[in-house]
């Protein structure tokens, strides 16, 4: 009888927590879908001047109004999704590939290799990220490959730190020792023993780092150092239309809204994952 009384309360509690997570996952899924199909469903050409009004209001055929040149805001956002998400995802992926691999290697090989790698990345991490991005972009000019490479390099030390810390924990467990005593090589240890056991936290870390990458990239675009015209990501859209800010033009509100929903969505997912997935992220 007591169990029967208890059941509904616990069921509600279980449902309530992940609800925020489900909403977050929905938002993220929506934007990822838009990144893939956005350019094909965009109602207008991104460059076409279709409205005589600048910062036009929303109306039939122009659901989100027009921008500072009279272009369709909806189409520009849909096409920009690909740049915002694509560049950030590519950069994060590269950062994790480099930082993660080296982090696991450092943890498994211990001693000298670990020392050298850890010291090296500790030093790299002391250079502020925006600053190094600015220097590199100023030097090499802004293009999509340069942006990806720069952001990737910036987030590599952080990825290294977290992957190493997680791997060191797993590496201390007896089953890794057993494999080592069996005579397994480093590659096997990383692939079979370490990686499957840190996958959860590591995916979480990917999410956090992805958010930072989006923020950094949109800030760069906002400063005019990111994606260059005629292409535009969400950050550039905000920059272009900043003059419409005072009137609350949709052209500046909607890209901002897009950035905020995506990053908040990812955070919602991460915050609501079960405990074993968690990792401590840093900016």
């Amino acid at each position: 009888m007591i169990a029967a009384q208890k059941a509904p309360a616990s069921a509600r509690r279980r449902l309530r927590l992940p609800l925020a997570g489900i909403i977050g996952a929905g938002i993220v899924a929506f934007w990822v879908l838009m990144a893939i199909i956005g350019p094909y469903i965009a109602p207008h050409d991104v460059g076409a001047l279709i409205d005589n009004d600048l910062f036009g209001r929303m109306r039939w055929g122009l659901p989100l109004g027009s921008d500072y040149l009279g272009r369709d805001v909806l189409s520009r956002i849909l096409v920009g999704t690909r740049y915002s998400i694509g560049v950030a995802a590519a950069a994060t992926f590269l950062a994790i590939l480099m930082g993660g691999t080296l982090g696991m290697l450092a943890a498994v090989s211990r001693s000298a290799v670990d020392m050298v790698l850890s010291r090296f990345f500790d030093m790299l991490i002391s250079i502020p990220s925006k600053m190094s991005a600015l220097v590199v972009i100023a030097a090499l000019g802004s293009s999509i490959p340069v942006l990806i490479a720069t952001v990737a390099v910036i987030y590599t030390p952080g990825a290294f730190r977290i992957w190493r810390a997680l791997s060191v924990n797993v590496n201390a467990l007896d089953f890794v020792e057993v494999a080592r005593a069996r005579g397994e090589g480093t590659a096997y240890l990383i692939r079979e023993e370490i990686l499957p056991n840190i996958l959860g936290p590591v995916l979480t870390d990917f999410g956090l780092r992805f958010v930072f990458a989006i923020l950094l990239l949109s800030s760069l675009s906002f400063l005019g150092l990111g994606i260059q015209p005629p292409n535009a990501d969400w950050g550039s859209l905000v920059r272009e239309n900043i003059n419409g800010l005072a009137d609350g033009a949709l052209a500046v509100v909607m890209p901002s809204f897009a950035i905020a929903t995506l990053t908040i969505g990812i955070n919602l997912v991460i915050d609501n994952l079960p405990g074993r997935w968690s990792s401590t992220g840093e900016r």
């Binding site: 002391s126 600053m131 600015l134 220097v135 090499l140 958010v211 950035i259 905020a260």
Partner: protein, 304 residues
């Protein structure tokens, strides 16, 4: 260790500016410069020496307070920086004074009442702030406080400060924006650090000694969380020197970061190098302070 790191950073900075394509002398003198003039400038700038020698010349210069001359306007770099650094330091210290106490109080209180409505609300709010690019916060602040409410000027720079009132007006919006970001960051890290220590068995022991939640957090968890919290604060504050680019640009504030952005777009390498060195030193200094705080708060490290 910190000196070693700084040395490494200096090398990285130097190498980074070194691999930039293009010849500085040609860039400075423009396209129709005579070869003699270019060669002359190259010699004046020591560009005809091998890289490692130039590195040491530059390093000695930096330490003796002579960071060379700006390539853009031929002013001494030290002078340029001297005109901007106090502005940056002022902005940073005002923001730090405002945000650190608020962030710590909020972080600790939401750790005490974790799971409560207050904690959930604070969590969501700070998450949203962390998830938003700071240019959005800055522009929102402008819309609300400067354009709609007309409380403060949208641009903050005015030469020479006159009254307290004006001083307050100039700083209000940049400080507000930076504080939002910093408070959110620090509060989340503080909360996480305190909650992490709340999981220790000695906390359960304290509960079974009859300690109430406030006592648990303040006298049992907090002393053990000082290390991580100090690190979080150091990390966040270091952001105040290098990460304020966006805020400085939105509000037209003449700080170090804007000098850096301008220098970067002009390829004014001596200025870039000097700025980056200053920011990195400040970061390392903060990290060392945090480490000292961590050691002092941990008897295991204090009494070996």
């Amino acid at each position: 260790m910190a000196m070693l790191t700084l040395g490494f950073v200096s090398m990285a900075v130097f190498a980074g500016t070194e691999i930039l394509p293009g010849d500085v002398a040609e860039a400075v003198l423009g396209q129709n410069a005579t070869p003699e003039a270019v060669a002359g400038l190259r010699h004046a700038l020591h560009l005809d020496y091998p890289a490692h020698i130039r590195y040491f010349l530059w390093l000695i210069g930096i330490f003796s307070g002579d960071a060379g001359r700006s390539l853009a306007n031929n002013l001494p770099v030290t002078e340029l920086i001297a005109s901007r650094l106090p502005n940056s330091l002022m902005l940073a210290s005002v923001t730090a004074v405002v945000s650190v106490p608020i962030a710590l109080t909020l972080g600790i209180s939401s750790a005490i009442w974790r799971g409560s409505f207050f904690d959930r609300a604070a969590s969501f709010l700070t998450m949203s702030v962390v998830a938003m690019p700071e240019f959005l916060i800055a522009t929102l602040a402008v819309i609300i406080f400067a354009v709609n409410l007309r409380w403060f000027p949208a641009l903050s720079y005015a030469a020479g400060m006159v009254s307290i009132n004006q001083f307050f007006n100039q700083f209000a919006l940049p400080v507000f924006t930076l504080s939002c970001v910093l408070i959110a960051l620090m509060m989340r890290m503080t909360r996480a650090a305190v909650i992490d220590t709340l999981r220790s068995p000695y906390i359960e022991m304290a509960v079974l000694k009859g300690a109430r939640p406030i006592r648990l957090v303040l006298t049992h968890a907090l002393p053990n969380a000082i290390g991580p919290i100090a690190n979080a604060v150091a990390l966040s504050l270091s952001y105040l020197l290098g990460g304020t680019v966006v805020v400085e640009i939105v509000f037209g504030y003449p700080g170090l970061a804007r000098l850096l952005v301008d220098a970067v777009s002009n390829r004014d390498m001596p200025v870039v190098q000097a700025c980056v060195m200053i920011v990195c030193s400040a970061y390392l200094f903060l990290v060392i302070l945090a480490d000292i705080a961590g050691v002092l708060s941990n008897p295991r490290l204090r009494y070996r």
